[in-house]
Every structure is written in structure tokens, then in C-alpha cells.
């Protein structure tokens, strides 16, 4: 099956004066993340593209085919769209075995039972679940259920893959491991891929492009770095503004190039990802006294006002985004080119193992 790009303009009006108006384009082989807080209409976007909810106006196009266009009177039902979905909470059929769940799509498409089972077994092997064929969804762990859901969606060889919060039901350790394997499976999928998430780390690590969505509309679109460095709304600044820094951990120290960051966890070793919230970075005009072990001097490279708060970019050796109040900016006379001291408490740095 050939893979075309997704072009969607979705307008959905609900009676409770909620209006969704979203524009999306995803090329084959690219991953877009739809990043936004809960209750902003992200799952509605999934339903509309999957064909479970008709749009009120706009159009959905996949390659050359129009999937939904109310003005033209076109609506392709979900079962004919070839859109693979990993649903929030996975929605595995509880009365069917793991194997039958994966085979469900193929059998619905009239594939012969034995070849559907064979193909499904291969998919289960591919997601690392060989030997689990006979289990019921209720008997497998959250991480396994996620992989069954992924295999079930991929087994139908869809033209487009939608993942609705695929990692949010998992505990932190599983999430990190599965994020890596999800990245592999995503890169093996040739069509457009869309990841719905409220977790900026997930969006930035898995997506080529991020759509920030708030209250039913897209407020910013761009590459992950662009959103992170130049957030346009308060929400984007809050959630997407975290500094993500890759480094090598050993014994409570993380090497980031030449620079050393001290972290609270002394057991971690190997590649890690540091998550440093802009609030966690303290700014001083003189070398601070006292406890913080992470203290260094640098220079302000950029100052940006976000209402009553101010966002700063700082220079080498560890370029970071920091956030201070408007008063602090006045008091410290912060402007581009001003030399400053930064400090960072080890306990305020988030650390994740990173492949």
C-alpha cells in the first residue's frame, strides 16, 4: 500500500460551546506530536481522523483520498480508512486472547484465520511478546498491553498511525523503556505518524514536529527545539520550556561535554537525560555562597518577556533556559551580554535513563 501525507483541517463544534479548530499536515515517515493539557480536545482529533466522529467542516485527506469532507458530502467510515490507532487505555478486547486481539483486524478484513494467526504471531514476536499469545488482556502488565495494542494496530498495515497517550498509563520505569522501543517501531512505520500526548518529554523525544494545542486550537507549531526555545504561550513555556540535556552519568555526576552536573541519584550510570525546569535555575549577579554544588558563571544571551515573567537564555558551558519574575529582572538588571552566576540544586534536576 502506498503512503501519502495526512492533511487535515478539523472543525468540530460541540453543543457545550466547545469549538475545535485544528490544522495538521504530516508527511509519510514523519512523526508529529499533538501536545496539550488534558481536556483540550486531543482525543477528539484522534476520533475525527480515525472516522469515529464526523467533522462539522474542513476536510481530512490521506494521500490522494478524501476521508471526510462535509461540504463535498464525503465521509469514509472508520472500517474503510486504513487508519491504525493505539487508543488511550489501549482498549484491548478483554474476552479475546492476546493473539486474537492482534488478529482481529486481519480477520475482520476476511483474511483466512490461519494466515491471520500466523501474521499476528509474527507481530507479537516483533514487539517482544512471543509466548504470550494465549494470555488474556487482563492477565498482562501495562507495558505488555501497550505492545499488544501497538501490534494490533500495525498488523492491519495501516496507512496512518495514531497513538493516543501511548505511554501515560505506565509507571515511570516502564515508560522510559517503552519509549525507546516505541521510537524504533515508529521509525519502522512508513506512513505518517501522530502522537497525542500531554508529556513534553515524550513529544520532544519522539516527534519531528510538535503541534501545541490549547482549548481546541493549535497555538504553536514547530520543531521540538523551536518550541522549547521560543514558546509562544504561557502553557508552552510552562510545559515545553523544560531544559532537556543529554549526558553520561556515573556516581552522581553527569558529564555534559566538558561540564559536570551533580545529581541526587548516585546509582545511575550510562546515558541519561536531564530535565531542568526553568524555575529550578537560580540567577545571581555575584558568585552565590552556601550549598548549591552546581554553580557556574556564564552570560545572558537572550531575554524574552512573557507577561509578568521573563525567560532568559544563557550561554556556555551549559546553555539553559531560565525563568524569573519581572521584578527580578529589574533588580538584577538582566539584559543580553550581562555576566551572571547560575546555580542549580541537585534535587531539582529530573533524570531519566536514555538510550
Amino acid at each position: 500500500m502506498s503512503h501519502g501525507a495526512l492533511h487535515a483541517r478539523l472543525v468540530i463544534e460541540r453543543s457545550d460551546d466547545f469549538r475545535l479548530d485544528v490544522d495538521l499536515s504530516i508527511e509519510p515517515g514523519r512523526t508529529a506530536a499533538l501536545l496539550g493539557p488534558n481536556g483540550t480536545g486531543k482525543s477528539t482529533v484522534v476520533s475525527a481522523i480515525a472516522g469515529l466522529l464526523p467533522i462539522d467542516s474542513g476536510s481530512i485527506r490521506l494521500g490522494d483520498e478524501i476521508l471526510d469532507d462535509p461540504d463535498a458530502g464525503v465521509f469514509v467510515p472508520a472500517e474503510d480508512r486504513g487508519v491504525g490507532v493505539v487508543f488511550q487505555d489501549y482498549l484491548l478486547f478483554p474476552h479475546l486472547s492476546v493473539l486474537e486481539n492482534v488478529a482481529f483486524g486481519l480477520r475482520s478484513r476476511k483474511t483466512e484465520t490461519s494466515s491471520a494467526r500466523r501474521a499476528s504471531r509474527e507481530w507479537l514476536t516483533r514487539v517482544g511478546l512471543e509466548g504470550m499469545e494465549g494470555e488474556r488482556p487482563g492477565e498482562v502488565s501495562g507495558g505488555q498491553a501497550q505492545r499488544v495494542a501497538l501490534a494490533r494496530a500495525l498488523a492491519t498495515e495501516p496507512r496512518l498511525l495514531l497513538l493516543d497517550e501511548p505511554l501515560s498509563a505506565l509507571d515511570v520505569t516502564t515508560r522510559t523503556a517503552l519509549r525507546r522501543s516505541l521510537a524504533d517501531h515508529l521509525s519502522g512505520f512508513p506512513g505518517p505518524r501522530m502522537l497525542i500526548t500531554h508529556d513534553p518529554t515524550e513529544a520532544f523525544l519522539l516527534a519531528d514536529e510538535v503541534y501545541v494545542m490549547e482549548a481546541g486550537v493549535i497555538t504553536q507549531t514547530g520543531a521540538p527545539d523551536e518550541i522549547r526555545l521560543r514558546p509562544r504561550t504561557k502553557y508552552a513555556a510552562d510545559l515545553a520550556g523544560s531544559n532537556l540535556v543529554s549526558g553520561e552519568a556515573f556516581g552522581g555526576r553527569v558529564e555534559v561535554g566538558e561540564f559536570i552536573v551533580h545529581i541526587a541519584d548516585h546509582t545511575l550510570a550510562g546515558p541519561v537525560l536531564l530535565i531542568i525546569h526553568p524555575h529550578a535555575v537560580s540567577i545571581h549577579r555575584a558568585e552565590p555562597e552556601g550549598s548549591p554544588r552546581n554553580t557556574w558563571s556564564t552570560v545572558v544571551t537572550r531575554v524574552e518577556s512573557l507577561g509578568d515573567r521573563v525567560r532568559l537564555q544563557t550561554g556556555d558551558p551549559l546553555p539553559l533556559t531560565a525563568e524569573v519574575t519581572g521584578e527580578a529582572r529589574e533588580a538584577l538588571s538582566l539584559a543580553p551580554g550581562v555576566p551572571v552566576w547560575l546555580s542549580l540544586k541537585a534535587t531539582e534536576i529530573g533524570v531519566e535513563q536514555h538510550g
Binding site: 472516522g51 469515529l52 472500517e79 474503510d80 490507532v85 478486547f93 479475546l96 482481529f104 475482520s108
Partner: protein, 252 residues
């Protein structure tokens, strides 16, 4: 509490013990294999199973409409369909007679067109049983459909399943336990049906005389026979209950 609980249990147990106490154990075999009883048993099984089958075919769509489709007057339709639950069966039988009798609203044109007479026929028994029993299926399945997370059906559709496949492979299996419970209740209600049947279908041995009607007749003539038939019905009901005990008792 313990005392009241014991009293409640006794309320159910004592009549059953009474049956056992009065049972004509010596002639039980010959009574049960007598022509009258065998006819009634056969008729009861046929009519209660037919009523259950009809309720399955018609009741599930009704339950689905009530649970899933918004239409004007839905509450009215629900009330109407569930009315036989609370309606005295005799009234139901009389209503059936006025509607489907040979001179009835629907019965007359049907009779003139096909020569089919429903009252006082085995079909009449099936119809009367379905009338009183189907609401049990509708109410249980509607509740289950209502509680079923519809996103599962969406997931099935996104995997390429057409409506019929979704119903057959996802919806019905997922409401399976409730559907089974509904079917058992429906069957039990049809099996024990008396009032609507005797009013609409009469009491003709071999044609419309089911086990409950046979018990009623025997009470007037031969009490031993009445007790024997009653025991037979207890046994048949117990067999069903025991066969389903896993499902029934797991609920608690």
C-alpha cells in the same frame, strides 16, 4: 437481623419442604411418565425455549435501540416494552386476546389473510410467554449495553470490522454475562408462565396445557399429581440453576 434472615430463608424453604413432605414417592414414576404430564412437559419446554429464542432475536434490537439510539419518545417506548414486568399476567392475556384474537385488532385481518388462529394454539402459548418474559431480556441487556464502553466498538471499527462483525465479535461477547443472565431469567419466566397463557391460549391438553396449567388442574382433581408435577418443575429449574451456578454465584 439473624432472626429476620432465618425467617426470610424459611419463607422460601418451608414451602419446598412441604412439597417434599406431600410427595407421593411410591407412584412418582408412573405419575411423571403419564401422558398428561409428558405432554405438558414437552409443551412447556418447547414454548419456553421458543419464547426465549424470539426474545433473543427481537429483544436484543429493542435493548440496543433503547441503549444507543436517541429518538423522540424513547422513554415512552421503554415504559411500554417493560410494562409486562409489572402488569398482572391475566391482564396481559386479555390484552393479547383483544388484539390478536380471531376478532381482534390485528388477529382478524391475519385470520382472514392466512387462516391462522393464535389463541388456543401452541403459538398462542409461545406468544403469551414471550409477551411476559421478553422484558427481562430487554432490561438486562439494555443495562449492559449502557454500561459498555463504546470506545471498544470504535476500536473494532478502526481495525476494519463492519457493524455486524462488531456486534458479533465485540458487543455481544462483552455483554455476554448479562445476556446469559437475561436469557435465563427470560426462560424461567416463560417456563413458569400461567396467567397470560390460560387467558389467551386456554388449557387444552397437548396443545396449550403447560406444566403450570397442569398443576392447577391437578390441584382440583388429584393432589398427588399436582405435587409430582411441581417437583418436576423444581428439578428442571434446579438443573438450570446448577448448570449456571458458576456465573450466578460469581456475581456476589
Amino acid at each position: 437481623m439473624i432472626l429476620l434472615g432465618a425467617l426470610g430463608t424459611a419463607l422460601v424453604a418451608v414451602p419446598l419442604i412441604g412439597l417434599l413432605w406431600r410427595a407421593p414417592w411410591a407412584e412418582l414414576g408412573s405419575v411423571i411418565t403419564s401422558r398428561v404430564v409428558l405432554d405438558a412437559l414437552r409443551l412447556s419446554l418447547i414454548s419456553s425455549l421458543s419464547a426465549t429464542a424470539i426474545a433473543f432475536v427481537l429483544g436484543i434490537p429493542v435493548a440496543w435501540l433503547l441503549a444507543r439510539v436517541e429518538f423522540p419518545g424513547r422513554h415512552l417506548v421503554r415504559g411500554l416494552v417493560l410494562l409486562p414486568l409489572v402488569l398482572p399476567p391475566v391482564v396481559g392475556g386479555a390484552a393479547l386476546l383483544f388484539a390478536l384474537g380471531r376478532r381482534g385488532l390485528v388477529g382478524e385481518p391475519v385470520y382472514e389473510a392466512t387462516g391462522l388462529v393464535l389463541p388456543f394454539s401452541t403459538w398462542g402459548v409461545v406468544l403469551a410467554s414471550t409477551f411476559v418474559a421478553m422484558p427481562f431480556l430487554v432490561i438486562t441487556v439494555e443495562g449492559a449495553l449502557h454500561n459498555l464502553d463504546q470506545r471498544y466498538e470504535g476500536a473494532a471499527a478502526s481495525l476494519g470490522a463492519r457493524r455486524w462483525t462488531v456486534l458479533r465479535r465485540v458487543t455481544l461477547p462483552m455483554v455476554g454475562p448479562s445476556l446469559l443472565a437475561g436469557l435465563v431469567l427470560t426462560w424461567a419466566r416463560a417456563f413458569g408462565e400461567f396467567g397470560a397463557t390460560i387467558t389467551f391460549a386456554g388449557n387444552l391438553q397437548g396443545r396449550t396445557q403447560t406444566l403450570p396449567l397442569a398443576v392447577f388442574v391437578a390441584l382440583e382433581s388429584d393432589r398427588g399429581v399436582a405435587v409430582a408435577i411441581s417437583l418436576l418443575m423444581v428439578v428442571v429449574s434446579l438443573i438450570v440453576l446448577v448448570a449456571l451456578r458458576e456465573r450466578w454465584w460469581r456475581v456476589s
